[in-house]
Symmetry: D2
Subunit: 354 residues, 4 copies
């Protein structure tokens, strides 16, 4: 930690900060300049909060020099995390990217969901996604089928062999989700629902955390840290667009640079959702492909058997024929990328040198 004192800080103020830090086990080094003094404090940040130091009289700024995500970060865990499912599907590291597809919400006719699942299986996808509990901005919008939706997903999974990804919205629903889902998703709006994150640390099921619409990379990784710190190392990160000033042509701004950044600073698998990330059907293919080329371990996108009558997010859902067309080309791209090849190594070498 570096503490920059105000130019007018008194000797007593400087000593007070230094003593406080030493008292908490930090090694202190004072740099006295002509204009101001900088205190470099080496030690375990967890012992003291930067906001406490910030509140001392005479302190200008406190700067962390080590990232606070010890478990989600690469520092102490240089190897990529690869999550392996019972049916052998793997996600992360240099494994082939996975595809997670399905409708935004599970709806009351099972047949539609099954139709999507069958098409997904046919195209080689690994996961069926679908919301049984739906976070909706308005109380007047469709709120999801709840347990019945989970049963539908489970049934479609049994018939096709696809794994199920679905969202949890509240701690009390975790046992239910744990029973039906293969991956439990934390929605973007719940990314900082810390009670939920802690509770998901107590199970073993893989958890996919979607990035909050205004969460920075650090906060995103700290959300993962909550789950891992509480006992569950099986965390997948999902970039799904951030909120910026520009939302005339898209619903969110898909931050694809997050993919190589997360892969550099974290060992966790990174998935990209171009459906929510853009909100536009015609952007799923170009942004999905771009995400894969940027290093994503998987894509999640929306398919509906009848988008004109979807109960949510129809505008960003593909019809089944569109889905097949696009997925054929995405598969071709995935096949082309040699994930073990020398190019990646060289690129990582340059990355390390920065």
């Amino acid at each position: 930690m570096i503490v920059v004192m105000e130019p007018k800080a008194t000797e007593a103020q400087i000593q007070k900060v230094a003593n406080y830090l030493e008292g908490h086990g930090f090694k202190i080094n004072l740099n006295r300049g002509e204009v101001l003094t900088v205190i470099a404090a080496i030690g375990d940040k967890r012992m003291v909060s930067t906001s406490v130091i910030n509140s001392f009289e005479g302190v200008h700024e406190v700067k962390l020099i080590q990232e606070p995500y010890k478990l989600a970060g690469r520092g102490a865990h240089p190897e990529d995390t690869v999550i392996t499912f019972e049916n052998g599907v793997k996600i992360g590291g240099s494994e082939k990217p996975v595809l997670m597809v399905g409708p935004c919400s599970v709806e009351k006719e099972f047949e539609g969901l099954l139709e999507v699942a069958v098409a997904a299986k046919e195209m080689g996808c690994e996961f069926l996604r679908g919301g049984a509990f739906k976070p909706r901005t308005s109380p007047y919008d469709f709120q999801g089928l709840e347990e019945k939706g989970l049963q539908y997903l489970h049934e479609a999974s049994k018939r096709t062999g696809l794994l199920v990804v679905t969202e949890v919205m509240d701690t009390i629903d975790i046992p239910l989700l744990n029973k039906y889902a293969d991956v439990i998703q934390v929605g973007a709006r719940n990314m900082q629902n810390f009670k939920l994150l802690k509770a998901l640390g107590n199970i073993k099921k893989p958890v996919m955390i979607k990035r909050g619409p205004s969460a920075n990379i650090r906060e995103f990784l700290l959300a993962a840290e909550y789950v891992i710190f509480n006992g569950n190392p099986n965390v997948i990160l999902c970039e799904r667009g951030i909120r910026t000033f520009d939302h005339d042509f898209t619903r969110n701004t898909l931050d694809l640079a997050a993919v190589p950044i997360l892969r550099k600073y974290s060992h966790l698998p990174v998935v990209v959702d171009p459906s929510h990330g853009t909100g536009k059907r015609y952007l799923i293919e170009p942004m999905g492909k771009a995400a894969l080329v940027a290093g994503a371990h998987g894509l999640m996108y929306e398919v509906h058997h009848d988008p004109d009558h979807a109960s949510s997010d129809g505008a960003q859902s593909l019809s089944i024929p569109q889905f097949k067309e696009i997925t054929k080309r995405i598969n071709k791209l995935i096949g082309r990328i040699d994930y073990d090849n020398k190019a990646t190594e060289r690129q990582q070498k340059i990355a390390k040198e920065n």
Copy 2:
């Protein structure tokens, strides 16, 4: 609802949308221009989701013409909501603005909290704030005293007569909060935790919702709508800063225009939190005063008996002597503003004319 069709939309596509809307009880008016067709549909938006319409082939854009917050909005509820507490304190409408003060977190020594409460009472404040459940970005930061913290708040309230405002983080804690708090706060990061909002609709206790860091005004009012729609009309809105590109000098950008906007479009009381809204002690006074002049029904700000040793947010907390100085001047300002005066009426008249 207005549906703008693509310039190249076919007659069949236009009819499909029109029929769908008529089938859902909308009255349809087709405007055929030389370039494109616009469908004006008058009816109850709750019967159909805009995203469904958006997904029809040939649709360029769907625009809502009525705001979706029927219960939180002024349309159907022109009178201001005034919430009256058992001890006679009122918030909202043209009542005197209230002050909600206290430490960010309730900490393990009760005496510090009591010291703050006594000073708050002395300065005429109405509410004691303090977190027993703390949402923290990092799992390594102090997470709150939980029930013990609530008991401390309750005890400090009993001794001083102050009302208690404190945050709920999870549906399972609502009964506990309901027992100890006079106002249950929903934190900014939980503003779209819809399960929590629904559950708070089932109690009668006033709920104060803090605006999410990336929530727009519409989403903020829809969060209130969730609580009211589920049965609890006692909702207070709290502006606490939004996340923008600029956070070198402040923690958030306090959006003070939200105050007159919310007062124009909603009947609910509006409170401003300049402590979280800026993150800087020296900005509490100017921004607090500005909020009151802009029409806020109350302020919430942080005071700590010993900010240098606060377990959270020390940098934005006032010491007790600072608190007294600033509150003296804020009280003077409140006394000066005649909330029933003609000026406000005239201003509202102009507002209506826009």
Copy 3:
């Protein structure tokens, strides 16, 4: 400057940075921690660019510890700048706030402008604003009367005694503006038109710089620094709203905290424009008042003799009767604020203690 090296930086990499900085006149202090090394470099930042240091191998981060605006900042210039005009009007410091009012654009009928100017004079305003050169997002929108507009402003000024504020859009127009204007305004979209800023440093006329829609406080002060550094110390800062994710109810987000921040870190006068800052007529009064209470040295807002037929920004312009009503109340508020009183001193004292 503080250079944080990567945990894996080699001794050679550390020495290379240290030698480079020493070679540029910095005094170096190495802090070797168990995990990483921090180089504290004390010296004149102008001698070296942080981006150069950033590009050295093994460098994790470069942090400035002194603000780069030496002339615009309070560090070397603790006294407030007060600009005095020929007619005795003053702006800045503890002077009474000024009012700058007028139409967005100067239009082809002189009478309308004069009508506004007469009303402005009557209400005690000091400045007449109006655009002769208009920056417009679309080439199809009204682009301004150019020199004829300047002549109109000059004539209205001669008849009423008001000072003229008007915008420059290009270096080649500076001589013309210099002839007709009392304050030359740099528009928000030109805040980083560095050629223009430099050229305005070569004249003596006061320059009012509007904050760019995505400029942070540091960049805003550096724009002022350009003008001062090139020879013109008469700079006024104008907060006019920033671009954020929320623009359904307003055109921009008026960042009122910028007022006390700029007053703390700079000695320059600070004006607020609630017309552009919100884009809504009904928000001019509450946000204008809030700005004054937060410490603004002046307000700029739009008045049009016939807003329904304004050639630009009618929606945010007041009619003359509305203008008079609102300005009467703003004047009352200004009269109430005792700018020399003890309260301000105490507040500044607290600010310094942070």
Copy 4:
């Protein structure tokens, strides 16, 4: 244009708006709902400003239904614009993507620039980029070599056959730029310097406009519209990152979805700058590749013969060996993408169907 009236708008207010629009040549269609009236006005938006309509009493909202960029948009110009240079290089449409590389600034030793140009030629790049006039946030940073820099670029171009891209900062420098450059670049901070855009409409030289850090897609296309409307159809668009809340790990947020959006709504060539768009050397390759896969017509990135001693932006510049490695892989990717293939056609077909 659609004008939504307030629910309480009077008949007189409705007629006033309708009459005004009819008087300006619009065809009017009134939709009277139970709650409110919507006026659909079909006609040429250029005849009237939406802000005028917005300012009429009783108007709730004015919505454009046609995009305002007539010349830059695809509506009236469905074919892709392909710009062909004297040496046969083409940019746009389905031509092979081009590479524009070079140092951020041209510096005082010609040899370094030449070394970069030779390497660029060797790797098959088409353009040499380099700034002779440098927009710098601080007046204390290196401001560019000006004409001497242009001469260096010209000389390097003569020796290698590369085309020159360089930035103009002021209208008075256009003749100079026109003499030395093959593409004149408008920097991000000047994207709304309308005098400059107009002046560039008067020459024939291709103009590359970089997207402003807070410019939305519409404003970006309107900047192009300025140049085309004033006579120069040779415009290239360059996405270079936008300013968002997240800038801890990157300098800007590269908005790659802008590529397919711009290609759908405009016929102009689209280039991406991953160097400025991220500010990090290790992100150039993944984001550059992703941009190409998303449909970019070219990339612009920074190479410096000695990044450790660059006078600007060293941290985001590649060294020559790094440049060669990365460009080899980018070339491989370009070679792999079959720009004339069926996939693109099918994708465009889906896009049209939205």
